[in-house]
Symmetry: C2
Subunit: 499 residues, 2 copies
């Protein structure tokens, strides 16, 4: 057993070095690789991905994992190690069914597809991206058929991003959500619009960057264990708890978007930074339950960041960075950051209509993988659904199907996790209020770090020991439901919009 | 032969992927790795360096190289391939003599030493760095004894950074330089100092960054084949001609330092970007002749950048970025950027005293490797030599021995290449003037790109086909000498200081 464990740790180390390299390349490609250098980067990341894949699918490794699982002493290993071995075995079983050439092709195609998406988005030309998207659909379908032949393709994709979730459960939760949100939105729509032009102006990028840094610090992001950079679409990328990186993007004529983007990414990063040190070099620092992950970013962004009390201790400081805010009352600012109106862009959308953007994508993904709808028909389908669900139609694909990066690397089944995150948040908010007291008071007192500590203690430190579903059961003691988040919406917006 | 070449290309590709990864990590570590993430990065770079080392020293590879060299058809291969195989063989022969454990230890120790140097420099405390420096001295000495047992240790180091150069040649060239510079400096010292305070002020970093970007573009750096970032000490790092990156650093209270740093790094980068495309994936894109490399950066920084005519077409633009310069005449600006006065910091020093900073380092390196002087005695030796050569004494080690990064990773023998670059530049300036005409006129007409084209054609496109010495012979048709650069100094400063 001891020899086998040693051998296993050697393997794990090699694999983790390769994963480290792949993450490193991805970080570089998404934040700074120059256009002429891109193809070489793709070649290099393809090579190392393929090396990692070979390591993880070698027969020797498979035998080692299998025999470790059969050992009597296996049950005596600590929980983290047991889970690590089990997950590696699961991944081994899935991966060994994937032909090497197929895998290499797919990795290379993904990199090119991401680049094509960037170009298409910039040029507002879906035709540049469309053939790549079709390839991604075909590759991912094929991949699921290789890796999870016993599962329905789209359920397999959903499970890959949030273990334990299937379309039956999601249909139920999204059904609850839709039933609550549609009437709420209609009631809000009857209200008159405030003057929003006072939030436009000139907001120099370097000041927005500094202010983003301040916000990260304020919510409890550890700057010695990460960096902030810039990219087309904000994201978080970690190399384990000691180095979790975030990016932001900036608009010249308004400053609010970047603020909430960075609080959102900060939430993701605080989760990863908070994983217990004892789990280092185990599978528990890799958190592939994206709904759970998203629940943390959205908790910071929405539940905390869009609460008026979040801003009470720092609103003066905001005015120091951007004097324009000195002329705006905190109450007007609060209304603006919670302004509800159906818009075309998911990442700009308000809390209330956000989930409808997700339901749109969920329905399109079901159309692709259940009904065989092809990439060439997706631009129209997108626009039709947008009209149906939100009552507006994009004038170009950059405001429509090209707005998000996710599908460009084949991440189908990813979007639903965003709304799952919202649903988890309703549950967590209930539990936190019971245990720590009223969130409004905590925030108004500048005690946001107490909330971060609670989240660390209840959720973050376990890393990926439990799935999102299990975390909800542990922290809240009940089954997952959309009712708490709906109650939060109802209470907040009834008051805010005087409904 | 065909099979062997195919096998060789496979090896080359693998090795180049590993080198790519190592460069990628080094770039990250020097520009953005957070402190808590540093140790993991060191582990990863150590692993991949060791993998690369194993590839390059495998017996199979050695046999392959040897048998390729013996093939009849070897002479029929194109020149680039022949050189590539010969260099790989030379490196193989050198590396195979190095024990794997020693190499790994050294790589790891270098990374830690660089980090210690940063801390020591920040805290002005040589004692933090001293034990690391002693280790670097011992490791590098040992490394040379492994790799080049037939050469004297310090000559081996010099040759490693500029092939074909030894201390005998350098003693001659530096002797010429010293003999010319010392009296010139003395004549200048008798002149009165102008008021330099007008160049102090507030220069926001983001504007300095934008202006640096403008300068890079102006001199011919291709932004689609590189990025500009920030680091403690400016540097250039390339992944082949399609991705050559530069960094800069910024001071809040003056803007001139960053301008010349970026022109300098831009010169390095333009060299690497200019290597002929046909040499891609051969050894010719790796330019390890650092004197030649430095000649290009210093050509842009000094010969061009410190010429008044460089600024004529863009001086108005400088005033748009930094209004302070609108109050300063071009002539006063020209005097300032060529202000001669012995200072403590090499990278801030003027063209004339610069070489004395190098001669100081050259003499210390000789003392270490010829006379066995130890790290513990180097702070004092540094300060003594500074007083002897430049007449001033550092008050702390940050302004003394801790100022440069080079020794922190064991790059002994590197410094002399800086002054060699100056000497090469004198030769190149003579040739360029003969062929293209007067540099003053070219610059005043804004035709700096014509100069870049000439350098591309005469020097850059060949990559590392020829050593610095050979380039001088090809471009100038004569043996290397310090006289042309001394004549340039004499002419320029006699006029500027009215000597």
């Amino acid at each position: 057993m001891k020899d086998k464990l040693e051998k296993f740790n050697e393997y794990r180390e090699k694999i983790s070095f390769h994963k480290h390299v792949i993450t490193q390349f991805q970080w570089d490609m998404q934040t700074q690789t120059p256009s002429k250098g891109f193809a070489d980067k793709v070649e290099a990341v393809t090579y190392f991905s393929s090396q990692a894949f070979q390591l993880q699918t070698s027969e020797e490794y498979g035998k080692l994992l299998k025999s470790l699982l059969k050992e009597k002493e296996f049950e005596e290993l600590d929980e983290a190690m047991q889970i690590t071995i089990k997950r590696e075995w699961k991944e081994y079983e899935e991966n060994k069914r994937v032909p090497k050439e197929f895998y290499e092709e797919m990795v290379r195609a993904s990199a090119h597809s991401q680049k094509a998406w960037e170009e298409a988005k910039q040029k507002k030309d879906y035709s540049i991206f469309c053939p790549h998207l079709q390839k991604m659909i075909d590759y991912r379908k094929q991949l699921m058929e290789y890796t999870r032949p016993d599962m329905e393709v789209y359920d397999a994709m959903l499970d890959a991003f949030e273990e334990g979730m299937d379309s039956e459960t999601i249909d139920r939760l999204f059904g609850e959500l839709k039933a609550g949100l549609v009437p709420l939105l209609q009631r809000i729509a009857k209200k008159t619009e405030p003057d929003r032009s006072i939030f436009r102006g000139e907001f120099p990028k370097h000041l927005q960057q500094e202010w983003s840094g301040f916000l990260l610090d304020y919510i409890g992001y550890d700057k010695e264990a990460g960096v902030m950079s810039e990219s087309e679409h904000p994201f978080t990328m970690g190399f384990g708890p000691k180095d979790v990186r975030v990016t932001n993007h900036y608009r010249k004529d308004e400053a609010i978007n970047a603020m909430f983007s960075i609080i959102h990414e900060g939430g993701h990063a605080i989760f990863e930074q908070g994983v217990d040190e004892q789990y280092e070099k185990t599978a528990l620092t890799e958190i592939n339950f994206l709904g759970l992950h998203e629940s943390q970013s959205r908790f910071y962004e929405n539940i905390l960041g869009r609460n008026i009390n979040f801003w009470r201790p720092i609103y003066i400081k905001l005015g120091e960075y951007f004097p324009q805010f000195q002329q705006i009352s905190l109450e007007d600012f609060y209304r603006e950051i919670n302004h509800v109106a159906p818009g075309l862009i998911r990442i700009d959308s308000d809390e209330v209509s956000y989930s409808l953007h997700i339901i749109l994508r969920y329905e399109i993904e079901k159309a692709i993988f259940r009904n065989g709808v092809e990439a060439k028909d997706l631009s129209k389908l997108w626009n039709d659904k947008m009209e149906e669900l939100l009552g507006i139609r994009p004038e170009n694909d950059t405001d429509g199907i090209l707005q998000d990066t996710h599908w460009s690397d084949g991440s189908f089944g990813y979007f639903p996790t965003y709304a799952l995150g919202n649903i988890f948040d309703g549950m967590f908010l209930e539990a936190l209020t019971e245990e720590l007291g009223d969130v409004d008071t905590l925030l108004a007192d500048g005690r946001i770090r107490d909330i971060t500590d609670w989240l660390h203690e209840k959720i973050h430190k376990y890393g990926s020991l439990r799935t999102g579903k299990e975390v909800v059961e542990h922290v809240c003691g009940k089954e997952i439901s959309a009712k708490p988040i709906l109650k939060y919406f109802e209470d907040k917006y009834t008051k805010l919009y005087d409904l």
